[in-house]
């Protein structure tokens, strides 16, 4: 039985972007319906329309065959539609129970006082009912990401959601947590709920969904039963052409060590040790991948190595030259390129032009600056070259970066960093939030550069990505390096998972052997 339908939805954003072009979606009662598509395909917009965050330019939404208008999230909640956003909408300093009842607090008689006892009971009951374990009394900022996500789901259920929209819920989870989430989703469906699951990871689609709707270029490509399709077919539908999911990593002899890190420690201003005595080397023609649950020191490692954070102690050498303690320029002068984790914060200046974004590491050197003046012609030419060379979809380098899509912004960053002819590339989450086509492209670039002699330090929350690209894999847990592995076919996700969760660790000797 059809529960909710979106019919011919058109959504034009004020800046002229057509995000949904006569999109149709039909979700049955009690199913897990996956919505897949590349970034910018319009998935999130469609869900925002369903949840009342955006108003469709035209089109109709039907709930149980009745046309409904949803002006605001409040309307959506009243209709039993709940949404769990990619970025959690929780009050960090509140307890989980407080977060769940926020805005619908139970009161005891008089309306002025919140009955927190009741809130805790309600939370526990809800948590048991759907098998979504949370600790009602814990503060949100002290619990792991997986639990925060469960809080979001419970929050929606507490408000009476019958339809749950999960927007890329696995992007922030470890493999183990993903499994837990899938169990919980199955339990929800057993309890009669309906789940719309947004993702661009096809493996997950195959693992959990009943039916899949594929979107591409703001349109719906089609809806298929999961059982009757394959990852390859879905990928083809998403991208509109054949996609090579497997990257060919030609064997190559690694060269001299480029980066040598010795006993690197970083203690933040609150006295927390975020990076604990890390030592490792990265060689020419090698990709060293760092695996680990997010928040185990990878970010700090990258930022210390690139000069964005000061090391508390320890040393790092690039080609034998010490690079720490003098800020990013020293690191860049040592020919270290850096694809930053959060490109919107660090990687680009949105309001500046593409050309200006492409020269931030080199503007002061000839040929970009000659006798004290910027050479605008040279800057424009090299910008045009990079736009062409790296396939950045932009009509002109004089456009602000803000006018580009997420994937193209990432390409701007990649173009700049790879064109700096680096010795070492530190790539943090290089494909986060990037669509399949761009992922394929970036992966190929990394492999090619590595084959041509570049040393690459790769940090990714996506274990699959690490395993696909790396020659060696280093696992971080709690700020420490707990294991180093050669990426041979017999290395399994499960093995790495044990190290990632701190259940196992190698001895220093074992690690030294694999340096």
């Amino acid at each position: 039985m059809t529960l909710i339908q979106a019919i011919d939805i058109v959504k034009v954003y004020p800046n002229g972007v057509l995000a949904n072009d006569h999109v149709n979606l039909s979700v049955n009662q009690g199913e897990i319906h996956a919505l897949v598509g590349e970034n910018g395909a319009g998935k999130t917009t469609l869900m925002k329309v369903l949840y009342g965050l955006e108003h469709p330019t035209s089109g109709e939404i039907r709930l149980r065959d009745e046309p409904v208008t949803i002006h605001s999230p409040q309307d959506a909640i009243d209709l039993g539609i709940g949404m769990v956003h990619q970025n959690f909408m929780l009050v960090n300093s509140f307890t989980i129970a407080q977060n769940i009842v926020l805005g619908r607090e139970p009161t005891n008689g008089r309306r002025l006082r919140v009955d927190f006892e009741q809130a805790i009971k309600d939370t526990e009951a809800l948590s048991r009912q759907y098998g979504l374990y949370v600790d009602p009394l814990a503060r949100v900022d002290t619990v792991p990401v997986g639990m925060r996500q469960r809080v979001e789901i419970l929050k929606a259920l507490y408000r009476g959601a019958e339809i749950l929209i999960l927007d890329e819920p696995t992007a922030v989870l470890t493999p183990r947590e993903t499994e837990d989430l899938f169990d919980a989703i199955r339990q929800l469906v057993n309890a009669g709920k309906t789940v719309i699951f947004i993702t661009h990871k096809l493996r997950e689609v195959m693992a959990i969904s009943d039916r899949v709707t594929v979107m591409r270029d703001a349109r719906t490509v089609g809806t298929v039963n999961t059982a009757e399709t394959s990852e390859a077919e879905l990928a083809r539908m998403m991208v509109g052409r054949e996609v090579f999911m497997v990257v060919d990593r030609p064997p190559v002899q690694r060269g001299r060590p480029v980066l040598e890190v010795k006993n690197l420690t970083y203690i933040n201003e609150n006295g927390r040790t975020l990076l604990d005595n890390a030592s490792f080397r990265v060689y020419e023609s090698e990709i060293l991948g760092i695996a680990g649950v997010e928040g185990n020191g990878q970010t700090e490692l990258v930022e210390v190595l690139t000069g964005l954070l000061p090391a508390t102690s320890g040393e790092a050498y690039v080609d034998g030259v010490p690079v720490l303690g003098a800020g990013p320029r020293r690191v860049r002068e040592a020919r270290v390129a850096h694809i930053p984790e959060d490109r919107l914060t660090n990687g680009v200046a949105l309001t500046a032009t593409i050309n200006d974004n492409l020269i931030v590491d080199r503007y002061y050197r000839p040929p970009y600056t000659n006798s004290g003046l910027l050479n605008l012609e040279q800057i424009r030419l090299s910008g045009e070259n990079l736009i062409r060379q790296f396939n950045i979809l932009a009509p002109s380098g004089e456009l602000p970066v803000a006018s580009l899509s997420g994937g193209n912004m990432q390409k701007v960053v990649v173009a700049r960093e790879l064109s700096a002819s680096p010795r070492l590339l530190i790539a943090a989450q290089p494909t986060r939030g990037v669509d399949i086509g761009a992922i394929e492209y970036i992966h190929q670039q990394l492999i090619d550069q590595r084959t041509n002699g570049l040393a690459i330090l790769l940090v990714s929350a996506d274990l699959q990505e690490v395993m696909k690209l790396s020659d060696r894999i280093m696992v971080m847990y709690n700020g420490q390096i707990v294991g180093i592995f050669r990426n041979t076919p017999d290395l399994s996700e499960e093995t790495l998972g044990l190290y990632m969760l701190g259940a196992q660790r190698q001895s220093p000797e074992e690690m030294e052997q694999l340096q």
Partner: protein, 712 residues
């Protein structure tokens, strides 16, 4: 920055358009300033131009104004419309506010001082009223103008109890006075020669001489005109001397005035608790007297529109008048002044008795009120919008003000480019003014070509250092630049005042100011309109604009400034030394602000005075914001904003509307720019509608739909 803007092309068409508009502006301004009209012949035009002093330089400056407009259009493209629209909306608000302040414009028709007069050939019927205290001097029968007896007529009512005194001016005077009260029929009602001892005791402050006379508590027997007669007692030896008369009573006077003696007050005086809206005055009239009742304004520039009524003793209205004819104004020349004065001519009074004249402003209708308000507002706005071009010296005032404002706008544009919200231009300006002023004052013997550049350079350096300080505080200590610059402003201002008061002020000066800066230290004038000068600061300004433009657009430092402005984390990630850039941005901005201070000291005031900046630095913020922090646009927005500032001054002078209106305009401009909500809203609505109309176009086409690129 929206993509459309950047997609728009800098085509030749835009260049031609901007040049044309710039030329039009040059023409329009020049025509107004030189007083040229389209109907003049070419020779007359040339004559009009050549009649102006330094007309070549004036034309040059006007051309520069045209260039600034051209640059604005060329640089901002579509955003240029936004600048104009923003100012236009602000002007509309300003108009509404001016109208609001002029809502009382019609009040002048119902308020003002007036006089009422009953003109008769008979002459005054009474000389004094209750409570009057006339005085005189007996001169004896042998004097040139002998006064041996004084008589005073007054109107009295039956039953009023009066006390009348006649006493010598001097204490213990030998003058022996005789006081007689005559009734309406001419018979004596009472007489007194000398006051008793008890009376002298009771009224000892008046009755100080033994010969003083008093009529105490006399009850008047009938209505009518009584006469007080005072004379020295005939048998007295002393027949000369000054004397006083008092007519005291608790009773109200039966009349307020008499024939030919005007009386009046102020209708609807502003700022009083109970404004007078109607006035009634009583006078004594006699049967068959021919009188003309007039109500007229006190001075010819008072515009109250009067009406007048004459009411008889029985309460009946004997006549009424609203206006006066030209003949009447000729007849009563010196009294009636305006057509709106009221004249009721040649009324024959029917009986003896007390008549009343009632005067009031004629009621003003809503239509009149509205049209008066609009008229007054238009007059004010005309002065506001065209005042700076109405006379050459006003034009000079505008240009002088604009030069300072543009310098400050550039200073702020530089620092805002780096997203550093430094408001330190004020303090930097003070230091610039102080340093350049001191150098100009102290080294007057150094030749001008050396001294002026030295003073300017020192001012720039002082501003640079005073900007470096908050920059360093921000870069190394994380001190909020907004707070630190505002604090440093106060320090700079007080330091300036201290040096000025204790070191520079000449000892004999009446107010706090330095001596005039010797000529060698002053910026040389290029235009001199009877003392009002535009100096070579114009050329210095052009250099600063070019400097700021090259700095921001063409230098690595400018790139760093732009990048830390766009995203400081990105700049840091890319290897930019963000601390150094923050300091440099603030210091360079300070140097420009210091030059603005030097311009004030050496070019405008020509000495150091208190409050030399008059808070202009903050107006520089408006200028920079309007220009989107673009150094090439700042000259135009500076000129535009200065035009409004100066215009507001002239409005205040010409139209009596407070120049604070320009504050409202300023506030609206800031609001609009900060929010830009209105414009964006309108654009969004328009675009959504357009997209709805064309929603069948392929999405890829839509996304790529951009104006064609310029040829490389």
């Amino acid at each position: 920055m929206n993509p459309r803007r950047s997609l728009a092309t800098r085509s030749g068409g835009l260049l031609v358009l901007s040049v044309l508009i710039g030329l039009l502006l040059l023409l329009a301004i020049s025509m107004r300033v030189f007083g040229i009209t389209a109907s003049m012949s070419l020779d007359e035009m040339r004559g009009a131009i050549q009649a102006a002093p330094d007309y070549g330089a004036i034309l040059l400056v006007n051309a520069l104004i045209g260039v600034s407009m051209m640059l604005m259009i060329y640089e901002l493209r579509w955003d240029a419309l936004r600048v104009i629209l923003t100012v236009a909306v602000a002007l509309v608000f300003g108009y509404l506010m001016t109208a609001f302040f002029n809502l009382d414009a019609a009040n002048r028709l119902s308020s003002g001082e007036f006089r009422v007069n009953v003109v008769s050939d008979v002459g005054p019927l009474v000389d004094i009223y209750y409570g009057d205290r006339p005085s005189g001097e007996f001169t004896g029968p042998d004097a040139d103008e002998p006064l041996t007896e004084a008589s005073y007529r007054f109107a009295g009512s039956a039953g009023d109890v009066l006390t009348i005194m006649a006493f010598a001016e001097e204490e213990d005077s030998p003058l022996d006075l005789q006081l007689t009260l005559l009734g309406p029929d001419g018979e004596a009602v009472a007489e007194n020669l000398d006051a008793s001892d008890e009376q002298r005791q009771e009224y000892r402050r008046q009755l100080e001489s033994p010969g003083d006379a008093i009529l105490e508590n006399i009850e008047l027997p009938a209505d009518g005109v009584y006469t007080i007669v005072v004379r020295p007692e005939p048998q007295s030896e002393v027949q000369v001397g000054e004397f006083n008369v008092r007519l005291d009573t608790d009773a109200p006077s039966p009349i307020d005035f008499t024939y030919n003696q005007p009386i009046g007050a102020v209708f609807n005086a502003p700022n009083v608790d109970n404004p007078l809206t109607e006035a009634s005055y009583r006078f004594l009239g006699r049967a068959d007297d021919r009188v003309s009742v007039l109500a007229y304004v006190f001075r010819s520039n008072i515009e109250v529109d009067l009406q007048v009524e004459l009411i008889g003793p029985d309460g009946s209205v004997l006549g009424q008048a609203n206006d006066s004819t030209e003949e009447q104004r000729a007849t009563f020349r010196g009294l009636l002044q305006r057509e709106t004065d009221a004249a009721l001519e040649g009324v024959r009074l029917p009986e003896d008795g007390i008549y009343t004249v009632r005067a009031r402003p004629e009621p003003v209708g809503f239509g009149t009120k509205l049209s008066e308000t609009v008229k007054a507002t238009n007059k004010a706005y005309n002065a506001f919008l065209f005042g700076p071009l109405s006379r050459l010296n006003r034009w000079v005032t505008w240009i002088k003000d604009a030069i300072t404002l543009i310098m400050l706008g550039l200073a702020i544009a530089i620092v805002f480019r780096a997203e550093q919200f430094s408001l330190g231009a004020e303090g930097q300006l003070y230091f610039g003014a102080l340093v350049s002023g001191v150098i100009g004052l102290s080294f007057g013997e150094i030749p001008k070509p050396v001294l002026v550049p030295l003073a300017l350079l020192s001012a720039a350096t002082a501003g640079f250092l005073w900007g470096l300080l908050p920059g360093a505080l921000k870069a190394y200590l994380g001190a909020n630049e907004l707070v630190s610059t505002l604090m440093l402003n106060t320090i700079a201002m007080r330091f300036y005042e201290m040096v000025l008061t204790f070191e520079l002020q000449p000892p004999n000066a009446g107010y706090t100011a330095s001596d005039w800066i010797p000529d060698n230290g002053l910026l040389a004038p290029i235009i001199d309109v009877s003392g009002d000068q535009v100096t070579i600061a114009v050329f210095i300004l052009i250099l600063i604009v070019l400097f700021a433009w090259v700095l921001i657009r063409r230098t690595p430092i400018g790139y760093e400034i732009r990048m830390i402005g766009a995203n400081i984390k990105f700049a840091n990630y890319g290897g930019v030394n963000t601390k150094r850039t923050i300091m440099l941005a603030m210091a360079i901005s300070g140097a420009v602000a210091g030059l603005a201070g030097a311009h004030l000291a050496l070019g405008i005031h020509r000495k150091l005075i208190l409050n030399i900046s008059l808070g202009m630095a903050f107006e520089g913020v408006v200028v920079a914001l309007l220009a989107r922090n673009n150094p090439l646009v700042v000259p135009f927005t500076g000129l535009l904003y200065s035009y409004l500032r100066v215009g507001a001054q002239f409005m205040e002078r010409d139209a009596n509307v407070s120049s604070e209106v320009v504050r409202i305009i300023q506030a609206v401009v800031i609001l609009l720019i900060t929010a830009e909500a209105l414009v964006t809203f309108v654009q969004r609505r328009r675009r959504v509608r357009r997209d709805r109309l064309s929603s069948d176009i392929q999405p890829s086409e839509r996304l790529m739909a951009a104006p064609p690129q310029p040829p490389a």
